[in-house]
């Protein structure tokens, strides 16, 4: 499979001298879902900001095959003055998609994340999980080929988070985007991805990579199987050495 997104010895030094990334090298192939775990402050968000063009890298080479990127942040970043429906339409609006088409795409995305019936609600009336769904729906309207996730479920309670993981996995299988996912949760990482990468403490680089062999679609109960525990154990060890 060709790479959808490739980092080749990417470095980032912020103007204030903070050395965030050092020679980060890896690729996300089409059809792959890659998760990055690493200590806080090691440059994970910076990685995604570079991939999306929000921040330029200070060294190395970035290859993005399709500039149509989806990007969800840890915060749902919904606009509080817009209803769920209007929030989901925002990106199409910014890209000047005609009104009828825009409404249709928004409705499809809303149905896909299970928010139908909530189109006319304002964000303040939604729970954290529902806000995140709306945020995902908003990205889906542009049918991205590559999807970046920056700890999207970091602030969500465990049970809701597991359920959102299951849904995200089904979205991945259905929409067939290449995913690059950041998380603190090793369980989430192993459950979702085809590959888990471990980053070192700052300046961040990739210090370990684990292929996840379980076939999709994965059952929620996979999390309680011995093979799953074994793999999360390995990732955990790698992460501990990253902290050291």
């Amino acid at each position: 499979m060709p790479a959808a997104l490739a980092f080749d010895r990417i470095t980032k030094v912020f103007p204030d001298g903070t050395h965030a990334l050092a020679d980060a090298t890896f690729a996300v192939d089409e059809g792959e879902f890659v998760t990055v775990v690493g200590p806080s402050g090691c440059g994970k968000s910076t990685l995604l900001r570079i991939a999306s063009g929000l921040t330029p890298a200070t060294g190395g080479k970035l290859t993005v095959t399709d500039p149509n990127l989806g990007y969800t942040f840890q915060d749902a970043t919904l606009l509080p003055w817009r209803t769920v429906g209007k929030n989901v339409e925002l990106l199409c609006e910014l890209h000047r998609v005609p009104k009828a088409e825009r409404a249709k795409r928004a409705q499809d995305a809303i149905n896909l994340v299970g928010l139908s019936g909530f189109e006319n609600f304002y964000p303040k009336a939604l729970s954290g999980g529902m806000k995140m769904r709306a945020s995902l729906a908003r990205s889906l309207t542009l049918k991205p080929k590559v999807f970046l996730f920056d700890e999207p479920f970091g602030a969500i309670d465990e049970i809701t988070r597991e359920r959102l993981n299951e849904e995200l996995m089904r979205l991945f299988l259905r929409e067939k985007f290449a995913g690059l996912f950041i998380t603190h949760s090793i369980y989430e990482a192993v459950y979702l991805s085809t590959r888990v990468l471990v980053m070192s403490a700052r300046p961040g680089r990739i210090i370990a990579s684990f292929a996840v062999p379980f076939p999709y679609p994965r059952s929620p109960d996979l999390r309680f199987e011995p093979a799953f525990a074994e793999l999360t154990g390995k990732v955990n060890h790698a992460l501990r050495s990253a902290h050291a």
Binding site: S52, F73, W81, G117, K124
Partner: protein, 315 residues
């Protein structure tokens, strides 16, 4: 995984529509919603759920304060003031029975006072509208370039600190001594909170929201109108509310200095005072205080209309 039930009208049908237990989930690639909405997530409250307000209970405390105030006024007048001052300061109920009805400066009241309210309201509202337009435009300019902010800011502050009495002669030379000069005074007095609150509001959109607009290549005006202005509305309305009261003060101060032309409440106050029409004087003072309240609450009501659906204001 069991079926989930949700409380609340409408939630159940919505829930049933969206719920799929994991093993009955549609196979990848097949149509239909993929998502499950869990019970614990369905905390969605009705967007319009504001507690019914009890008007009587809300009106009671200020009414009591008002009565206490009238009693204190009457008591002070009766027991503290000497004979001569008592002739100047009427009892509150005398103001009510005579101040609004006896002869005014040139017409019989209440018609003179009513004209006064109209004129002062006109000046205050025109001033407030101009202050809003100019203030918001200045704030937009200041928000785009740091050097504009730095160069305009001290003058915005100066508007606030220079006493009108000091610049009254200059205003007089340039704008004369009629309605124009009064409106100008009103703008000078009420514009500062609008500039400052709008500027603060325009900068209040969070970094993540800005990133979103940057990612999707939003232009200057798109960002301004779809993000910054919307985010600014709550604090802009805070500014408008403060300026609403100031605009009435501005109109009345303006009338003190620039008294040519139609007679607003400020001019009436001046005339009644010099002619010893103390009942009417107090009536005019009460009306001008009430005018400030009315404009303030009108703006508060407007805020509710414009952003009430998504913004829960403290007061």
């Amino acid at each position: 995984m069991s079926e989930h039930r949700n409380d609340g009208p409408g939630a159940e049908s919505r829930g049933r529509h969206a719920i799929r237990s994991a093993d009955r989930a549609p196979a990848p690639g097949s149509g239909g919603p993929i998502a499950i909405i869990g019970q614990e997530e369905l905390q969605a409250k009705s967007a319009t759920a504001s507690p019914r307000r009890n008007i009587l209970r809300d009106a009671m405390p200020p009414a009591i304060v008002f009565i206490l105030f009238l009693l204190a006024w009457a008591g002070y007048r009766t027991f503290v003031l000497d004979r001569f001052k008592r002739r100047i300061v009427p009892l509150p109920w005398t103001v009510l029975t005579r101040g609004f009805t006896t002869a005014g400066a040139s017409k019989k009241n209440p018609s003179e006072l009513i004209t006064g309210i109209k004129i002062t309201t006109q000046v205050a509202v025109t001033g407030l509208v101009i202050a809003t337009i100019v203030g918001v435009m200045l704030a937009v300019l200041m928000s785009t370039r740091k050097w504009v902010e730095n160069s305009v800011y001290p003058y915005a502050v100066a508007l606030q600190t220079i006493p009108i009495i000091a610049i009254a002669p200059i205003i007089n030379i340039i704008l004369g001594s009629g309605l124009g000069a009064r409106i100008f005074t009103c703008v000078v007095i009420s514009i500062f909170p609008i500039i400052i609150n709008t500027l603060f509001g325009l900068k209040s959109a969070d970094a993540g929201q800005h990133d979103l607009f940057t990612l999707h290549e939003a232009g200057f005006f798109t960002r301004l109108f779809k993000l910054q202005f919307q985010a600014a509305l709550p604090s802009m309305f805070e500014g408008f509310r403060i300026s609403a009261g100031l605009s009435v003060i501005g109109a009345i101060v303006g009338e003190f200095f620039f008294s040519q032309g139609p007679r607003g409440l400020g001019i009436l106050i001046d005339i009644y005072k010099s002619r010893g029409l103390y009942n009417a004087l107090f009536a005019a003072i009460i009306l001008s205080s009430m005018l400030g309240l009315v404009v303030f609450f009108a703006v508060t009501w407007l805020r509710k209309i414009v952003i009430g659906r998504w913004y829960q204001a403290a007061r």
